[in-house]
């Protein structure tokens, strides 16, 4: 892989957008944005914006996917055609199918599936604007939308991406760092339980770098977790006041 970045990714310890290696982009979130959905959330990590909607628990269609003793979580991660520099063909790619699967597996570990036998919980994720770290932004959005739908969960799930520029481990990759960096380590964390729910790795990493990446992800998750709680509380307070 000899892809050369058009501009240096790290100069004097600062990244292309002026951030320090461990600095996360501003995170904003809004819960309950789609009236039709049972739960929804809009989450932005810098310029990456993801909209999540939860429908369910509801009757599975097609019927044969029903599991008798618990709910099935279905996840569709999808990038809007206008979310990228070049138009993205809206047909699902192998990448999107894989991401949908790993996000599903992350969420399944925290939802109390046994409370909704024979039903599905559908999570739809649309990346509206992509600037790196879309899968971890999606997971944060999905978790908020599930909470907004009132689905009981063991924990909130926080997504954080970690990457590498030469030997420097960085947090929350933007598009340039994603395309031209030396590695990518998306992580999702059940914050209160200290569980890793999603972890993938791309690139060549020393075992010690992976360890540091995990530590940085947990550190970054703290703040996002607090934001998530505030966003949910705000939503419930608004309902109470009504």
């Amino acid at each position: 892989m000899v892809k050369q970045s058009p501009i240096p990714l790290l100069t004097d310890g600062k990244r292309v957008d002026g951030r320090l290696p461990e600095e996360h982009r501003p995170v904003t979130m809004q819960v309950g944005v789609l009236p039709n959905a049972n739960g929804s959330a809009l989450v932005a990590y810098g310029n990456t914006v993801v909209l999540a909607a939860v429908y369910g628990p509801r009757e599975p269609i097609p019927r044969y996917i029903t599991v008798p003793d618990k709910a099935v979580v279905r996840v569709r991660y999808h990038m809007a055609p206008f979310s990228t520099d070049d138009r993205k063909n809206p047909a699902p790619t192998r990448r999107e199918i894989e991401i949908s699967k790993v996000v599903k597996q992350a969420l399944e570990a925290v939802v109390f599936l046994e409370q909704y036998p024979k039903s599905t919980i559908d999570v739809f994720l649309e990346v509206l604007q992509a600037d790196g770290s879309t899968r971890v932004t999606s997971i944060t959005a999905a978790s908020l939308a599930l909470a907004d739908a009132g689905i009981p969960m063991r924990d909130l799930v926080v997504g954080v991406s970690v990457g590498k520029i030469n030997d420097t481990v960085i947090v929350d990759l933007n598009k340039l760092e994603d395309n031209y960096g030396d590695g990518d380590l998306p992580i999702a964390i059940a914050y209160r339980n200290n569980w890793v729910l999603l972890m993938q790795l791309d690139g060549v990493w020393k075992p010690s770098e992976v360890k540091r990446g995990l530590e940085l992800a947990f550190k970054a998750a703290e703040n996002i977790y607090r934001n998530m709680r505030e966003a949910l509380k705000g939503r419930y307070m608004a309902v109470v006041q009504q």
């Binding site: 192998r94 790993v102 399944e108 972890m199 993938q200 790795l201 791309d202 075992p207």
Partner: protein, 279 residues
Amino acid sequence: MSSYPFEIIPSLRRDTLRRMISEGKRPDDRQLISMRDLTIRVGVIKTADGSALVNLGNTKVIAGIKFELGKPFEDTPNEGNLIVNLETPPLAAPTFEPGPPDENAIEIARVIDRALRHSNYIPLRDLTIIPGKSVYTMWVDIYVLNHDGNLIDSSMLAAVSAIANAQVPRAIIDGENVKLDKSTKIPLNINPQNMPLTVTYYKIDKYLIVDPTLEEEVMSDGRFTVASDGENIVALQKGEGYFTPEEIDSMINNTLSIVKDLKVKVLEMVKTPTGSLLF
């Protein structure tokens, strides 16, 4: 894998298995962190440019390599293309259905793809014919023939073995035209020390096991794959369940030593092509 929602294990059997695992035992007398018997035979398919048949216990996976002419990607004008595809044909398990690769098959293929790409095992630069214009496209087609658990590791073994066995048809350049001469083949010059392998851990209660049989796999609560060349980590993939940072740390460290030992065995087994397809 999650594609077996209706693979049913009686709860009595399930309880027994869980108790055994908690005592460090397994039904086939293995340790928690040990693999089933492995045999690899390369050169089993005459029509392929490279092939390998892997038997890992009762799991059987075959991989075939094919070279075609292709165009390089714009950002890598000096590299051949690598495409990894995995099929789960219905003959391999009662729960497999005909059709294009499902999410399970796509996931495995993509993890193997990432591990191969980052390990530098395949000399992709050697697969350039005319820089920026014409390169080889290397297809790694993995076929599951009998599924008895641990498809990720057995597919990875099949892929690296078939690649070790690969012969590249000679490219004939005639002005602007490029053709492949299938009658003259040159061995692919792999970097054996960079051979990546995966070790997939399955969690049953709080215990981690490797190389599960289908039964163990179906009743497991978590899955985590570590791909390594023995030195560095070249891919990770968390599947079902949850893992603590301490567990991840220990899986990574275990993998480094398992891969180092396993690589020696694999490199030995891929040395001499057998040519026979008998299982």
